[in-house]
């Protein structure tokens, strides 16, 4: 078991945010944590990342208790996580300070190519689109070769077309790099498109309502009956009729 949440609860003062979360994530799995706004899913991810200490319970990775942030597990924020004062190269190489110059350059070049930013190495984030900034952040995370990636609504600020492209790029990268990924989203379609399993959280205090296995091979056909059935199942689980 790669990442294990064991009875994780969290309260801020009198407000219960998470209640006894139990979840096991296997190595190389892509798990989406889905829930309505304010259900504590970001808090859960921050606990896994070591940025927050849970009020009760613990998260273990490879059997070791998480006690703080660690460069083997990188957190990807929305695109505002890139450093505006560093170029694309500088951002991607940010965590590579302990490598030799040659290794560092090679690693940067590899990840610049992987996320499709060739030609933009010397650009500053303000010269890039939202989607490109998000790629920079993903590349910065991958460059230090972590074994877990935490993505907190990474595509939430992008337009819907870019968001679709970024999803398929993430899947391509995931298949190339074989990382364990925990992906927080409030977008049902997104979770069904990406995940091996979707963990559906309840409204606050967040509890695991259900875990839905998405048994469709990639690339997924978004109009296949199985896709639609799983999607509607989750819509139902969250208590939304799929009608407007």
């Amino acid at each position: 078991m790669k990442v294990r949440f064991h009875d994780v609860s969290m309260h801020f003062g009198a407000i219960e945010v998470l209640e006894a979360i139990n979840l096991d994530v296997t190595e190389g799995e892509l798990v989406c944590i889905l829930g309505p706004s304010g259900c504590g899913k970001s808090t859960l991810l921050n606990i896994a990342g070591g940025f927050l200490e849970p009020s009760a319970g613990e998260v273990t990775i490879d059997g070791q208790r998480v006690s703080g942030p660690d460069r083997r597990r990188i957190f990807v924020f929305q695109e505002r996580g890139v450093f505006p004062w560093l170029t694309v190269e500088g951002n991607i190489g940010f965590g590579l300070f302990d490598l030799s110059d040659a290794e560092r350059r090679a690693r940067i070049a590899h990840y610049v190519a992987l996320v499709g930013l060739k030609g933009f190495e010397r650009s500053y984030p303000r010269e890039l689109s939202g989607g490109m900034k998000q790629r920079v952040e993903v590349a910065r995370a991958l460059a230090v070769n972590p074994d877990v990636l935490y993505l907190d609504e990474p595509f939430g600020a992008l337009d819907s077309i870019t968001r679709l492209q970024m999803r398929s790029e993430l899947l391509r990268i995931w298949e190339a790099e074989k990382k364990t990924i925990l992906f927080v989203t409030h977008d049902i379609e997104e979770s069904v498109q990406l995940a091996d399993r979707v963990v559906v959280l309840s409204a606050r205090p967040g509890r695991v309502r259900r875990i839905v296995e998405i048994d469709i091979a990639h690339p997924r056909d978004l109009s296949s009956p199985r896709y639609l059935a799983l999607r509607d199942e989750i819509f139902g689980e969250i208590g939304l009729a799929h009608k407007i």
Binding site: G49, F51, G68, P69, I74, F75, F83, F97, V144
Partner: protein, 242 residues
């Protein structure tokens, strides 16, 4: 045409000043031509350069000394909640005290001379620079600090690659405002604590024979150099921000 527009106000004021002074010769106020002649006189006696350099010298050392101490102090307070809780009330208490109120203390400690004036500039610059740095640290996007923690950056890299570049834009604004304050204070300090500089020129010209043409010459020079200092720091600001 639009290149001349910024000078319109100045030209109008000069004209009004000229005619007002000419219409009331009995008043002691000299017209702009007399003031220009006074500046020429200062230049020919070698005092123009000497006084300007003296004033700039004091501002430079007082200001740089303050900057050197205020940036680390402001960063430490900005990063440490406890430090801020312990020291911020003291800073707030010192803030409303005009730097000029320190003049007697400066003379007591450093006597009449350059050191007193430099000390006063230091006092005037240190607080605003410390507070500006502290505020800039508070305004760092927490996401950037989290990312730095996540990558396990060693402290010197955290400082160089995250903290300093993150606070720089706001710090530069604080630095520009503070240069203005330092320049205001040097003139006052020189009226009391030293025997050279533009502030001394003003007070000395009045005391030694009511030479109001020299008084106003001193004021004009202070204005011109103040504008030049501001432009200089603005230029640096733009270069760094680009």
């Amino acid at each position: 045409m639009s290149k001349l527009l910024p000078f319109t106000g100045i030209a109008l004021a000069l004209a009004a000043w000229h005619f007002a002074a000419a219409a009331h010769p009995a008043s002691l106020l000299p017209g702009p031509l007399m003031v220009a002649r006074a500046i020429g006189e200062l230049a020919s006696r070698g005092l123009l350069l000497k006084y300007v350099v003296a004033s700039l010298f004091r501002v430079t050392w007082g200001y740089l000394g303050a900057l050197l101490l205020a940036v680390p102090a402001g960063m430490a307070l900005g990063l440490s909640r406890r430090g801020e809780m312990a020291l911020n009330p003291l800073l707030q208490l010192l803030r409303p005290i005009s730097p000029l109120a320190w003049i007697p203390v400066a003379i007591l400690w450093f006597g009449v001379g350059d050191l007193s004036a430099v000390f006063l500039i230091f006092i005037a610059s240190f607080l605003p620079l410390t507070l500006a740095t502290m505020k800039a640290v508070h305004d760092i996007d927490p996401v950037h600090l989290s990312a730095a923690r996540n990558f396990d950056l060693p402290p010197h890299r955290l400082l160089r690659q995250v903290l300093l570049p993150a606070i720089l834009p706001q710090l530069l604004v604080g630095m520009r405002i503070t240069v203005g304050i330092a320049w205001l204070v040097v003139v006052a300090a020189e009226m009391i604590a030293v025997n050279s500089g533009l502030g001394f020129l003003i007070i000395d010209a009045r005391n030694a024979g009511n030479r109001y043409d020299l008084v106003i010459a001193g004021m004009v020079l202070i204005g011109l150099i103040g504008v030049a200092l501001d432009l200089l720091v603005r230029r640096a600001e733009q270069r760094i921000a680009a």
